[in-house]
Amino acid sequence: MTLQLNVNGQNHQVNVSDGSMPLLWVLRDLLGLTGTKYGCGIEVCGACTVMVDGQPELSCDLDVTSAAGRKIVTIEGLSANRSHPVQQAWVAGQVPQCGYCQSGVIMTMACKMKAGARGSDAVKEVKNLCVCGTYQRMKEASKTI
């Protein structure tokens, strides 16, 4: 089946054999947007978090058919040149270690801040799993935004 997706402000036509394919794999395999990560596939870790109509969504469990026609923003489209305040704070605060979970963390933060939260409040709502344990630096970096 063919679907229209709006990702990072651009319309894409995607062909999937199965409308239940999660958005995660459409982004990664079909659109080549690999910044969104696969971690658990069961909505526990948050590595796959993207912004859908301004809200954080776990793309590993969002059918592509449900995502069609909505505004999807991935880490690649969050800003030009890493200029989003969360990205800037994450670099300044030297937050990432392996970095694999950080796309999901940053997108979660960005959604919370879009809703008007300050960084130090937004970070309290971050439940994403970080196996490297960068939580303390996430908290410290959030205080600056």
């Binding site: 969104t36 670099v91 392996c98 970095g99 490297c132 344990g133 939580y135």
Partner: protein
């Protein structure tokens, strides 16, 4: 230069290539790998490649892997210091492995044992210094003045002081490339360091906040197909019948265990998995899920369960046949690591008080955020290109040569960023599978293990049962220390023939402890469980430091002494005492605590660094403990980037914390039971304790004879015992078995 150090040749040989692009130094340094060390191998190979280009750029090609530990940045700092340039001018790039030397390509440093910085600190300094002196020599020739003291270097510019004329590195690089490298070069004195010992930003971080960093799983190659692996759920099981290819899929490829990649139950040649191959990850994964594969289960499957492993360990704690030189020494053999049982038993028998305790630690999964994966493009008899998130690029190269019969120069290995390595990605089983699939289907393929396979087919941190027994005299002195660890052998599963002291990985951090134990006897027994085991961040220290430091706490209690002071009076190494003092001070050990809080302390060493932690807790329930604060002191002897050491300590503490509270893998009929994060709980941000880190200063950095400590794994070992000791203070109960909360689960976001 006021403090020119004597040096041996840095570079057992330095290889120079004169190229239009400028000065390229390829330095050959002894390969430093823990696994190679342990297996008795050694090697000399190209580890890094330093280029000073005519356009003023400086590039350091590094062959080790970047998995968040920041060692690329650390190596660049060391080189920049000696080259006398700003840190920002040294760019690091990922190198490829090589078998032969010299070759003008990058490194082959297996990224294990917290070893990249500690194994290369002096070599990188020498390399930077040699390159700098060659550039100065080129300036001397150009100015026709051979008096070295007439030249100074700053910010990559050589100044001829009599004429005040300057020459940039870029303008000198082509001429320098024609000069023979000196065997030695003077190093920057410690008191003139501008970069070593300073926190600088990691070079890889910007790419990790915008999705542009490419991890193994992100690789995309033209014409690529996707493979998803499905193993026999039971360790030791093999495929009975090859299933037919599901509709819409390209192939089902049986995967066999290639020589050198199987551990324990997984024997060479056994078909223990299949790969379903098709057009994209999701469709292939769904087809794999629906596919019924008939497996032949091993005859011993029913015995591969936790109760049986514990029964075996308990039996071996009481009685095990001793190692016989030249004998078969099958699993279950007792190895004497230190001391002698008879002497210690005798010392114990005359003690005023005897204390003994048994500790148990489970198998633990690695659970890297990025699942195992590998991409391979194979052209028969022509080329094999591999993209892998690997800690062991050289092992990948060797494997590919063995599997394809291709020559080294027909194989290209791309080390990708690792979404965590933690020791699991030092293995190459998943690489061998991707090579098999690419050969079978004749196309480039990206192979992935779904999360459930990643948990269920790990090479786990070994389980361990430790029985400890010690005596105290009436003054609280330790009269004798008897310690026996029973755990499956990591090196034994890799084909090593164990010597009289057994598996160094299993006994590490249990012997040569600088405590005054009176008579000591340390033993290690190889547990016969064939469940695959491997290197898990901090390896044997994660087991032994828990047992040793919990037991020290029990002895302190038995002697009615403060646990910090008890340790302090028993320690014989001033560095350990300084680290213990620093942690105690940072953790306000002697200050009163708020109501409801308690503290615990522990100290240990691994990879030549000494670490002590004070853990502060409150609110203990049957399902949770609040961990409020962790205060950690580390003496790594040298520290290149203190901010990065702090980050690694924070990360190591969280790793140790997750394992201590929740970490375990269990087995029923040879099948792993925890297959995703929901059954392998880890803390989230709201549970993060406040962590303070102090690096204990060492004033004598320039002493080449001193061992240098690692950082990557050092936060882990001392956390669990410090927590258990705080728990005892809080509850009066000893937690001798980990994890604290074996039934914890983790819910959806």
């Amino acid at each position: 230069m006021t403090n020119t150090q004597e040096k041996k040749s840095s570079s057992r040989r330095s290889f120079l290539s004169a190229a239009a692009s400028g000065l390229t130094l390829t330095f050959l340094i002894p390969d430093f790998t823990r696994i190679d060390e342990a297996l008795g191998a050694s090697g000399t190979q190209v580890n890094a490649w330093l280029n000073v280009a005519i356009d003023e750029t400086i590039t350091l090609t590094v062959g080790s892997s970047e998995m968040g530990q920041g060692s690329f940045t650390g190596l660049a700092q060391v080189v920049a210091e000696e080259l006398m340039v700003d840190f920002s001018r040294v760019r690091t790039v990922q190198g490829s492995p090589s078998m032969t030397s010299p070759v003008p390509v990058g490194a082959s440093i297996n990224t294990v044992g917290s070893g990249v910085i500690r194994g290369n600190f002096w070599k990188m300094r020498d390399a930077g210094a040699i390159a700098r002196e060659m550039l100065v020599k080129a300036a001397m020739n150009q100015r026709a003045d051979q008096v070295r003291t007439n030249f100074t270097v700053a910010n990559g510019v050589v100044t001829h002081t009599p004429t005040r004329s300057t020459l940039s590195y870029g303008s000198l690089a082509a001429a320098a490339a024609l000069l023979p490298p000196p065997a030695t070069a003077p190093l920057v004195p410690d008191n003139e360091f501008r970069i070593i010992g300073k926190t600088v930003p990691r070079q890889d971080i910007p790419s990790k906040v915008d999705g542009s960093a490419k991890y193994g799983l992100d690789v995309q190659v033209p014409g690529m197909v996707y493979a998803v692996v499905k193993h026999c759920p039971t360790f030791g099981g093999t495929m009975s019948t090859k299933p037919s290819t599901p509709s819409g899929m390209l192939a089902v490829v049986p995967l066999s265990v290639f020589a050198g990649t199987g551990r324990g139950t997984e024997v060479t040649g056994a078909v223990n998995a299949i790969a379903v191959v098709g057009p994209n990850t999701w469709d292939v994964w769904q087809a794999s899920r629906r596919l019924t594969v008939r497996w032949n289960l091993p005859a011993n499957a029913a015995s591969l369960n936790d109760a049986e492993f514990l029964r075996q360990a308990n039996a071996l704690a009481v009685s095990a046949p001793a190692y016989v030189p030249g004998g078969a020494n099958p699993p279950g053999t007792l190895y004497t690591v230190e001391g002698a049982a008879a002497a210690t038993d005798s010392a114990l028998s005359s003690s005023a008080k005897i204390v003994d305790a048994t500790y148990f630690l489970p198998y633990v999964s690695h659970a890297c955020m990025e699942v195992l994966n590998c991409t391979v493009s194979y052209s028969p008899a022509v080329k094999c290109e591999i993209w892998a998130p690997t800690q062991s690029a050289k092992s990948v190269l060797q494997l590919a040569m063995a599997m394809t019969g291709l020559l080294e120069n027909q194989i290209v290995v791309h080390t990708m960023y690792l979404g965590g390595g933690l020791g699991r990605k030092a293995e190459v089983d998943f690489v061998s599978q991707a090579i098999q699939v690419s050969i079978a289907v004749g196309k480039p393929v990206k192979l992935m293990w779904p999360r459930e396979e990643d948990f269920a087919r790990d090479q786990y941190r070994p389980m361990g049962l430790v029985h400890a027994k010690a005596g105290l005299d009436s003054s609280g002195n330790i009269t004798g220390w008897s310690y026996r660890n029973i755990s499956p052998s990591i090196l034994g599963q890799r084909g090593a023939v164990l010597g009289p002291k057994g598996d160094s990985q299993g006994s590490e951090a249990s012997n040569a402890l600088p405590y005054n134990f009176g008579s000591r006897n340390v033993e290690w027994v190889s547990h016969p469980s064939p469940i695959p085991v491997g290197f898990w961040r901090s390896v044997g220290a994660s087991i032994n430091t828990f047992a040793v430091e919990c037991f020290m706490d029990e002895l302190a209690a038995a002697a009615n002494q403060d646990p910090y002071q008890f340790r302090r009076t028993k320690l014989t190494d001033p560095r350990w005492i300084a680290v213990l003092d620093a942690a105690a001070q940072l953790g306000n050990w002697t200050s009163p605590l708020p109501a409801g809080r308690t503290r615990g302390i522990a100290i240990g060493a691994a990879f030549n660094s000494i670490v002590a932690q004070v853990v502060e807790i409150s609110n203990v329930t049957t399902t949770s403990i609040t961990i409020n604060r962790v205060s950690l002191a580390i003496d790594p002897y040298i520290h290149v980037n203190p901010g990065q050491i702090e980050a690694q300590m924070q990360g190591g503490i969280v790793h140790g914390l997750n394992a201590a509270l929740y970490g375990k893998q269990t087995f029923v009929n040879g099948a792993a039971q925890a297959k995703n994060f929901n059954r392998s709980r880890m803390i989230r941000l709201n549970e993060m304790p406040q962590i303070a880190v102090q690096i204990v200063a060492n004033p004598t950095l320039s002493d080449r004879t001193r061992v240098i400590g690692g950082a990557g794994e050092l936060g882990v070992p001392t956390f669990a015992p410090a927590l258990a000791n705080a728990y005892f203070k809080k509850t009066g109960k000893r937690q001798r078995s980990l994890p604290f909360f074996p039934n914890a689960t983790m819910g959806e976001l």
